[in-house]
Subunit: 370 residues, 2 copies
């Protein structure tokens, strides 16, 4: 059963208002997905993430494979049940974390051998193994196993990386199709199972991106991601690659740009026709005292806020801005109070999710161009 | 205006069911007060502390004086407004933290000179200064400035400490009476102001405890605390001192045992006629993975919980036990996730507050002996 994705509206600029019907949740797009690396959107209880109206969150295959282990999560009924999150989830393939966190990484045509960043133990990930892990975790959306190239990267380096990544995409799809019925919650959703997205790579080389996109589209995934961005390249390059790739992707399937971005970026990309985005920025920045607001960025550690009675963002009606002052938020981070990360994260997520809610409303009101 | 304390019921064993009418909240007694050291019950948002039905929380004068400073809090309308806590609060005098945290402490008849544990800066606390700080903070209940003796302590050491502590009690009371109208929220509660409690000291020496209690009762405080317990003495000694002192205190005023205790202790003391208690144990233990449950203590880090589907406490209906499994709580602490401290603390506070709720109901149902 392929993913039901209803496009409600498409604007002149290509922006799309849609609904993605996943087993655990109907997700309104464009959507921003908070990151819950190790099974927790850091510092925020699940009931609060729900109250913030997040419809889908991300889990990291690499982290959850290492701790507590995918077989343990399978035995506990899958990741939704394990962390008590009733709505939609997406897991990445582990490829990006192997690239960014693991040590002594060695890539062959077969897969990637790496050492855990936690204890140095040796592990081997293949596309088939990534699928097995992701099926055990049981997210609504799985991602094909890929290699993410660094920035900057020579053309030859990117070409050499793209060859196995495209082969791995086909192997991911074959293994996923053969085993997707093994998802732990198979019997709970009337036969619906997980969906699998392919990941367009190709570095900053437009022809390689084009080749990657075309081959993935031939394979026929449930949706398509643009990976290998937000790896240190200038913003204009990110935009160029997205602009290049989007028109190559099928209009009737969701398009996901991985790992972006700042508030103005997620708004821009959503208006261009990106349906899904995720980023650690709102949650990670929050824990370091950086708040995103309608008035720009606020470093809440600054002395200027020490007696500021006002809310983090005067135009925000989140539970933090309704109750707490900048002075209190500054005090909490100055004292190293754990509540600091919680309140800052709640505000930043509210801000990000609020942007997408506003963009969805504006896209819906735009002249239709089907 | 003295503190309105209504005794609703007194049992054969001396247990009391009462109501303490404080400016910000009518508090049902016996009551357990969660500790919010630096203006935050660590890791738990104020709305959750409210949802847990905590009626009064504690703030630490020493910490808040150092950061953000009592004058800043006064300018921001007092501690209630600063941290956005609408219910009752109590501040200690700073004496205990000077004793337990500060460096290079030097006690004279005038007061205590000490160095901050944060930056080594030098500070001098007198009874008058402690009152000024506590009036600026504006808690509903302030505590007289005292010295807390260590355990074990020679009789001569305790005698020498008790002499200034009793003089400081009178100086605290005099200064408090002269300045209590300066509380930041003076105009918001129809002329009600803060209340001041005296602290019975005297180490483990019954006659010194008796002398201390009698002198404080003569001074006529709004309530009386028993301090200098939970400093490392065996539990039987704690119980002995409480049993010795309680009958010396006026029946029509609240009695507060500071810094206790384990769940069975707070229940025992409440049944003996203690009206108020506070302790960092439920919150601090939570952050280290120790959960208090109806089945005893649970060290959630233990491997035996790694695939335990059940809640932390099968008899608990707190928001954590209703939603999350032991396996998930174990996973969070194993991964160092900040959510771990939040969820564990919520459960432990729910357990402590639940004990007191049950004890209040049982005391109310006991045969009356006025």
């Amino acid at each position: 059963m392929s993913l039901a994705f209803n496009l409600l509206n498409t604007t002149e600029n290509g922006g799309r208002r849609g609904q993605m019907h996943l087993p655990h949740q109907a997700v309104e797009t464009p959507v921003f997905m908070p990151v819950g690396t190790a099974g927790s959107v850091k510092a925020v209880p699940q009931e609060t993430v729900e109250a913030l109206d997040a419809q889908i969150i991300l889990g990291n295959t690499y982290h959850l494979y290492l701790r507590p282990g995918h077989e343990a999560i399978r035995r506990m009924g899958g990741l939704h049940r394990f962390i008590s999150w009733p709505r939609a989830m997406l897991t990445d393939s582990g490829g990006f974390q192997v690239y960014s966190l693991a040590q002594l990484r060695k890539v062959t045509d077969e897969g990637v051998r790496f050492r855990s960043h936690l204890d140095g133990s040796s592990h081997f990930f293949t596309p088939e193994h990534s699928m097995d892990v992701q099926i055990a975790l049981g997210a609504d959306i799985c991602m094909a196993f890929d290699e993410c190239t660094e920035y900057p990267a020579d053309r030859s380096r990117v070409e050499e990386s793209l060859r196995p990544t495209m082969a791995w995409a086909q192997r991911s799809l074959d293994h996923f199709r053969a085993h997707q019925d093994e998802v732990p919650w198979r019997d709970d959703f009337g036969g619906q199972t997980q969906k699998l997205f392919g990941i367009v790579q190709g570095g900053m080389y437009h022809d390689l991106r084009r080749e990657s996109a075309e081959r993935l589209v031939e394979m026929d995934f449930d949706g398509y991601a643009i990976g290998g961005l937000s790896v240190g390249e200038p913003r204009e390059l990110t935009l160029e690659v997205i602009s290049e790739v989007l028109p190559l992707l099928p209009k009737n399937k969701p398009r996901y740009v991985m790992g972006v971005g700042y508030p103005d970026e997620i708004e821009l990309y959503a208006r261009m026709g990106v349906d899904m985005m995720d980023c650690v920025l709102p949650t990670r920045a929050a824990r370091h005292g950086l708040l995103f607001t309608s008035q720009g960025r606020v470093n809440i550690k600054n002395k200027q806020y020490s007696e500021d009675h006002g809310p983090a963002d005067p135009e925000c009606d989140c539970m933090v801005c309704r109750r707490y002052s900048r002075a209190y938020l500054r005090h909490l981070i100055q004292c190293g109070e754990p509540l600091s990360g919680t309140l800052n994260t709640i505000h930043n997520l509210a801000y990000y999710l609020g942007i997408m809610k506003r963009v969805r409303a504006e896209l819906a009101a735009d002249p239709v161009r089907r």
